[in-house]
Amino acid sequence: MGLPRSATERAEVRAGASSATIAPPALPRAAVRGDGYPAARAGGAPIAARARGWARSVLRFAHRKPLGAASGAVLTLCVLAALLAPVVSPHDPVAQDVPNQFRSPDRTYWMGTDHLGRDVLSRIIHGARISLSVGFLAVGVAALIGIVAGTSSAYFGGLLDLLLQRVIDTMMGVPALVVAMVIMFVLGSSLTNVVLAITVAYTPQFVRIVRSEALAVKETDYVVAAAASGASSARVLGFHIIPNTLTSVFVFATGALGGAIVAEASLSFLGLGIPPPAPSWGQMLQGAARLHMETFPWLVIFPGLTITLVVYAFNMLGDALRDVLDPRLRER
């Protein structure tokens, strides 16, 4: 089963690579974008038909990219666990029960208990809320800033572009974690500040990606035609340029979510993230867990495995989405 699939894939990839080098970049792109959004093209189609179309494209995605689809399923599960945390977690994540400390995994405590007798599994489930909300918020805000700053930088050019790009260059040249650490140090540890610090770390990359995409779109005939027919800057940006940068933003954001989750875990691990007793995956690996890990290894194994699995899933989903949505960027 594996052989023909890889063979066709290879053929596809070759075709994609050669057409990308020969054909003008604008052409295959427009065609793909039209294909990529059947629902949007349907416009006023009845809701049932639209839902059927959507289900079909999900199925097609699962068939072409089984690993990507599996990652999507893992992440859906993770989001559900986060949303339903109070319902699905077997114990209270913060209630202390010191007589029950350091219980090894058994039938009541599937992943054991920590130094205060708190259930590790429940803390991981509740930790998903923190990790995912930090991830989605930080990446969402960074993407928004990236879209606004990137498109205007590309569209208006001039001094704005020059200054903004210098700032972005500088920010991309410095170690992101160090900057995030210092921001946390200055502002104090809280959930909002973690989101802020990670947003600062990711914004430059979004600005860079959106800008380069917008620069390419700006030169296309339909944008020139729109401007020539008297459309205002706001209209050209909002209706023509921004929608065409969204695919790249979406693809990069999926991978960035994994990075943001590791960043939150790293900050919390260093004691600069979410303050205790709120359960965060990084914080669960710190302090008592680290001190006692030789005797009670489950304290560091389960939270770390969770982070790895979730980040892996985000990376795989990001890769798969890139292959499907953006053939120009397809990995060879």
Partner: protein, 321 residues
């Protein structure tokens, strides 16, 4: 090429200016009253900081001046090299950096060496055997390397070392010239863990580039001349595929500086990142501020050097203009 180099070097001045402005913004404008922040955290929660103490500390840190004056004073002290007197040891931060930087550089150099030795052969192997099992193994390994957080792998490695070999990292740091064996045995684990991540980036890059180069006409020509595959791949293709990898290393060194902070913490390595975390714990504002400035200057300089080296060895830039 001269114009390119001159441009790139001249651009470095505004870049440094922006970096210093960003540091100043984060350290002096964002927190509000720094003197108050230092004193309050040191007092027990109920006790209010003494008004005289605040005034004195403010004067000591030069916080009494208006912000533009503060900025200029700070930049001047950076230029003379005696910026950032520690609140505790009264030593300038430059001395601290002189002590800690070599440790971090050791770790960084080990990491880069290991990752280059691993990533180039593996990336090339994956490209040559595309869509067969070596390729799948390399791809799976690299994706895993990108997904696993370094500090967690660090903890697991420590755990295994203790459980299997009863080995604990030495509490004392030895320089290479003092005790090479101790130095390597302390740094090899964090270096290998960091190298896994960085060789994953590099191997993917080498693979992707090599696949592209292998489809070029001159490679087909080389094959049709009857050259053996190893010669075509090693002498003709790999050289061209390697160029973009070099620029990747620039961005990597920046990320490496983040990585060392965390792994120094896990493995008790007394490097620059350890100094930063200690300064934060003591709320030593001047040290944090100037360490941040140093981190930024250091990585920006390395990126500049990499760009220049790239310009020198890449004929397309060398002969342009």
């Amino acid at each position: 090429m001269r114009v390119y180099i001159a441009k790139r070097v001249l651009l470095f001045v505004p870049t440094l200016a922006i970096a210093s402005a960003l540091v100043f913004l984060v350290m002096r404008v964002l927190p509000g009253d720094v003197a108050l922040a230092i004193l309050v955290s040191r007092e027990t929660p109920g006790v209010v900081a003494n008004e005289d103490d605040i005034t004195r500390l403010r004067a000591q840190l030069g916080l009494a001046d208006p912000l533009p004056v503060q900025y200029l004073t700070w930049v001047r002290s950076l230029a003379t090299g005696n910026a950032g007197l520690s609140l505790y040891t009264r030593r300038p931060v430059a001395e601290l950096i002189g002590e800690r930087l070599p440790v971090t550089l050791h770790l960084a150099v080990y990491t880069v060496l290991i990752s280059l030795f691993v990533s180039i052969p593996l990336g090339a192997l994956a490209a040559v055997r595309q869509d067969r099992w070596p390729d799948y193994v390399v791809r799976a390994g690299t994706i895993l390397g990108l997904a696993t957080p370094g500090f967690w792998i660090g903890l697991i490695v420590l755990l295994l070392l203790v459980l299997l070999f009863r080995w604990v990292p030495s509490p004392v740091y030895y320089h290479v010239w003092e005790d090479a064996r101790e130095n390597v045995s302390l740094l090899v684990f964090p270096a290998v863990i960091l190298a896994w991540r960085f060789s994953s980036y590099q191997a993917r890059m080498v693979r992707a580039n090599l696949l592209e180069v292998l489809r070029q006409d001159y490679i087909r020509t080389a094959y049709s001349k009857g050259l053996a595959e190893p010669i075509v791949v090693l002498r003709h293709a790999l050289r061209n595929a390697m160029l973009p990898v070099l620029t990747l290393i620039g961005g990597e060194l920046t990320a490496l500086m983040s990585g060392t902070v965390i792994l120094e913490n896990v493995f008790n390595v007394p490097g620059l990142g350890d100094a930063l975390i200690n300064a934060m714990r003591q709320r030593d504002y001047p040290v944090v501020e100037n360490l941040l400035m140093f981190y930024m200057t250091f990585t920006l300089t390395i990126n500049l050097v990499i760009d220049l080296v790239y310009a020198v060895i890449n004929p397309r830039i060398r002969y342009a203009e």
